[in-house]
Symmetry: C2
Subunit: 457 residues, 2 copies
């Protein structure tokens, strides 16, 4: 049997922070580790495809053309680990406490991705001649918006086009409540930099005669929401399509307690915008969030300056049928129109992606008997058996922007088996992965692989 826990731990030790130019060693280590893992345990032929950014690892189990072909997506890069002082153990030295592994990337996406590697290894151990073609397509730039994967897919459309995409980079409801994710929000992100004086000024000598870039930035940021919390950018909501009734009902059936959720987040009050309840706002509503702001003196005590500049990182989460490029244009246009006097503005557009929805065949009325429909059916049945209850079909608020690219370029929809749990601290300190979820989801993945293999010509 494939030792999944050991494999995740070893993978996590590589600090593969794609956003950090200093993390070269971690990125390279992760690529080597993953390549060896695929080669040694699944017999895949591994190719490391160089790109303008971080490489894509392709792992191929070839087979007869009439065999079904599943493409398994994952990403070996992780979010930056800071703030470091809030971790109770080292982010890149995974430890297991009470059946939960802690470490950066354990739940996003090194643990969940490992489920499918383990599943294939286990199935092949039982049945080395499995009539199934598999392509692992593991990128290293998901956390920075997958700027290179599209080019790789375009250059290899034929070999990368499978019957459907299998992936686990989304979040379930609970350890006994597995979900199949039916949608993800899109994203538009940018950084705004305001420049005032040529250098920091003494706030006594010059205070009163110049615009303070922090003041200008605060005014600009404050203008982006109205008093009720709606995004205050003309046209922002124009293309928003409300979810289907069954989706709202499926979400409501979870019957979650807002007070429990409030406590989990540690906020004094929940603040959903109008038109959505607190759970709906997380997956059916679009947002504009400030991810970081900086300007002026950051050290201890005080320093009475007017800073030369101030900047803010902004990202929007998008829902159907908002388009990432269009929203970026609207946000940028609004920012430029509202730029206060006395400062100059520079905007850097960052990664983005359109929102993504994939309805399960039994909801969309799609043809049965296709590898994709068989996979969804197998997943549904296996989840009932392994978890003891039917899966939830839910959209979630996160983004995997590359999914829209995959659909557009390779024409594949995704079966998104959720592996992470809501308290896994993805993108936060003390990221963790419940190893029971890994075990259960590996069984589900095995059933999917076996069922799809059974659909061959």
């Amino acid at each position: 049997m494939f030792d999944t826990v050991k494999a995740i731990a070893g993978f996590t030790r590589h600090a593969s922070v794609s956003a950090d130019p200093e993390a070269r060693e971690g990125m390279e280590g992760a690529v080597k580790y993953l390549s060896a893992l695929l080669r040694d345990n699944t017999g895949c032929e591994v190719e490391v495809v160089q790109t303008a950014g971080h490489p894509v690892v392709l792992g191929r189990r070839r087979g007869k053309p009439e065999w079904p072909h599943i493409v398994i997506y994952g990403h070996y890069d992780v979010q930056p680990p800071d703030p470091l002082d809030e971790w109770t153990s080292e982010p890149f030295e995974p430890v297991v406490r009470d059946g939960v592994m802690y470490g950066r990337g354990t739940s996003d996406d090194k643990g969940p991705m490992m489920v499918h590697i383990a599943a294939l290894a286990n199935v092949l151990e039982r049945r080395p001649d499995l009539p199934l073609r598999i392509t692992f397509m593991i990128e290293g730039e998901e956390e920075i918006g997958s700027p290179s994967l599209a080019a790789v897919m375009k250059a290899r459309t034929d070999s990368l086009r499978g019957d459907f995409l299998l992936m686990s980079d989304t979040t379930s409801v609970g350890i006994d409540d597995e979900s199949i994710t039916t949608g993800l929000r899109g994203m538009s992100a940018l950084e705004v930099r305001l420049k005032g004086p040529g250098q920091d000024l003494h706030s006594g000598f010059h205070g009163g005669s110049v615009m303070n870039p922090i003041r200008a930035l605060a005014a600009l940021c404050a203008s982006l929401h109205d008093a009720d919390g709606r995004v205050n950018i003309p046209g922002f909501y124009d293309d928003v399509v409300p979810p289907a009734d069954w989706e709202r009902e499926e979400l409501a059936r979870l019957n979650r307690d807002p007070e429990d959720y409030r406590k989990l987040l540690g906020v004094p009050e929940l603040c959903p915008p109008p038109d959505y309840d607190v759970f709906e706002s997380r997956c059916f509503g679009p947002t504009l969030e400030f991810n970081g702001i900086t300007g002026g003196y950051q050290g201890p005590g005080s320093k009475t300056i007017i800073p030369a500049r101030a900047s803010v990182k902004i990202s929007c989460r998008l829902v159907p049928d908002q388009k990432a490029d269009r929203i970026l244009e609207l946000v940028e246009k609004t920012l430029r129109e509202r730029c206060p006097r006395g400062v100059t503005m520079e905007i850097e557009r960052q990664h983005g992606g359109d929102p993504y929805v994939v309805l399960p065949p039994h909801k969309s009325g799609e043809a049965i008997g296709t590898p994709k429909a068989v996979a969804f059916k197998a997943a549904d049945e296996a989840i009932r058996e392994v978890f003891g209850s039917a899966p939830h079909y839910l959209r979630e608020g996160g983004s995997v922007p590359v999914l829209s690219d995959i659909r557009r370029i390779l024409g594949m929809d995704a079966l998104m088996l959720a592996v992470a749990l809501p308290d896994c601290n993805m993108h936060s300190p003390n990221e963790n992965m419940d190893l029971l979820m890994i075990e259960r989801c590996t069984k589900v993945s095995e059933r999917i692989l076996e069922a799809v293999a059974g659909t061959r010509g």
Copy 2:
């Protein structure tokens, strides 16, 4: 002759950043350096008075009780040197280029303070029996609001009370245009910290359901000015007294070009608030400035989080008859009233001080013949001679909050001989001191000391 340039350079080498708890070595070094300098060159009896914070250095030239007594104020601490990468030479390795010395503290206040040490040394060389009592009172906490000096003054009222205070910690008009400073703005400062979620959250999973602390902080900050740039805090302007007509005229006579000033600062546009022109707003008008803001992800690229917290450093410059404590109360009250929902607020009050005005005896109709009046007259005459034109009597926008304490506790007014120049980059990278100003002002200070010595009983 006292080697002033060498003395300033040696003093500057000690990185005495009072705001930085790590700068212990620099603070201690500056105290030792200064003590030795006073002892060796002026024969002063030196006492290092320990306080709850950084020590006060007292240097005493004792004499007969009927001799006039001048207290000379200065501070040996400096502003933090960052942003370091904008310095063209090391902040604590002074270099002289074209008659200008560059280094942190050269103009605030190590160079200007040295003028009076040099003047006393030079005068004593010519006339060792000078009938004048001198007390140097040099603190190490001016840049953090002089929290300890008041207690030292209260404990030694009798020995520290002189006929007047002589000090140089203000800015002149130009190398040929010396000014005597007639007022400084007061200050109220605080730091506001907003706390939202217990830790940074994934902006996809939770974005929409919680208040983003950066958004809350931006709204809060944006509310503190109205669209015209006035401070939008109820009661803020209640106690503001406009300057005397002669003060406005004296300022206007400088006939400065706003366009030159705009270029000097490197801003796209000057933005004075209503009711003041661009130069008046710097000294006659109160301000509220943001000195630093921080929250969320600050690193390269993007990190899609909702940060757990965000904070801002705020300082107000005050004019007569605003009171620092009252303004602090108003600002804090307003911030608490406007605290957005979904976050909690913590406010830390920082150093402050009331505004300070000291009119020259010939404007205030004060008695002539007192040591203070003699000093002002001698300064006026010496400036005409050394600089070739009459001094300007101007208020400036900076703050030396301890001056109000000195007046209240010791009952002394200050003669503020401006030594720094407008382009000295005080509090900014590449702080510098024109050595010709040092030379000229030393001559003026010598004349003041000699004239006052002549007023003895």
